[in-house]
């Protein structure tokens, strides 16, 4: 057994120790379990994404409504129109933002816009 040729031949003929019984079954069961887990987590991610999409839609709608409220509250105001005619668009804006309801709606709309703008970034973290 100690000559180089014999040693090589013996090493090539080394037997394989018997693997544990039913390794195939165990491996396939583990794979099935893994895939099941993946399916569940994928479904959870999809549900969360759908919920997020719904929320984003509501926020966008809220922003739109807030914008419309601002426009409706201020656009037809005669003082604003007069100011616009006298001093240009910036003078009109001064009058618009001076009304408390309009200021409140403007701030709410701005907050909603900013939140919806950064929401995807926060969700990714």
């Amino acid at each position: 057994m100690t000559s180089p040729r014999d040693l090589t031949a013996d090493l090539r003929a080394l037997p394989y120790p018997a693997p544990p019984p039913d390794m195939t079954g165990i491996v396939l069961a583990r794979i099935a379990q893994l895939e099941e887990k993946e399916t569940v987590s994928t479904a959870a991610v999809e549900t969360a994404a759908a919920r997020r999409a719904d929320w984003t839609l509501w926020i966008a709608l809220g922003g739109l409504v807030a914008g419309l409220v601002i426009a409706m509250l201020n656009f037809p105001a005669p003082s604003a129109m007069t100011a616009l005619a006298r001093g240009g668009p910036m003078a009109g804006l001064g009058n618009v933002s001076s009304a408390p309801q309009a200021t409140l709606a403007l701030v709410a709309g701005f907050v909603i816009y900013v939140v919806s703008l950064f929401l995807p970034v926060r969700e990714r973290r």
Partner: protein
């Protein structure tokens, strides 16, 4: 890769999970033997072999089917076995005395390794191989018994081709010495070791 292996891999990639069972049956003996030689604990070897198959399944997309299947899965098994050794407090180095374990309590479990091999003559050789430093041991199994190319072994172990050649050279020398000593020792003494 054999034609049937290729067919199986294609089936698995098409979503036939059970087809993977053919690959497990075909390679479990070789892979378990390799891992057992590395970790030297049957329970640990079983765990690592299972993990290697599961990892191979989940990463089958990365497998290049123009190359043989066994070296690919053997590389996975070797990495997992090295992680297992590290996790169980046995040192594994990649440089210098590469993959040389300083303290391997697994040597005490060689009796259980012998229980897995029927033939006494083959057991003697297994015992001799099992007492080699881990890098030499793995290289011997992969090169001689599994007939892998030196370059594939180097890739699997994460060392250079030169290192593998050195491992094989040293392993042959160590084995000759150990087998010579073993043949000079009486059978009674051998069984008590």
């Amino acid at each position: 890769m054999t034609a049937s292996d290729l067919d199986v891999v294609r089936s698995v990639r098409r979503g036939d999970r059970d087809a993977f069972g053919h690959l497990v049956r075909a390679y479990q003996g070789r892979l378990f033997g390799l891992v057992l030689m590395m970790v030297r604990e049957p329970a640990g070897a079983e765990e690592v072999t299972q993990d290697a198959f599961v990892r191979a399944y989940t990463h089958l997309g990365q497998y290049d089917d123009r190359r043989p299947f066994y070296p690919w899965i053997a590389a996975i098994a070797v990495r997992l076995a090295q992680n297992w050794l590290r996790h169980h407090g046995r040192s594994v180095h990649r440089e210098g005395t590469a993959l040389e374990s300083v303290d391997e309590p697994g040597a005490t479990t060689l009796a259980s390794l012998s229980a897995l091999i029927d033939d006494e003559g083959k057991r003697t050789l297994w015992r001799a191989v099992a007492t080699l430093p881990s890098g030499e041991r793995t290289a011997v199994i992969l090169y001689y018994r599994d007939e892998m190319a030196v370059s594939d072994i180097a890739r699997a172990l994460g060392v250079t081709i030169g290192t593998i050649k050195t491992f094989l050279f040293r392993a042959r020398r160590h084995l000759r010495e150990r087998l010579k000593t073993d043949s000079e020792t009486s059978p009674t003494e051998r069984t008590t070791r």
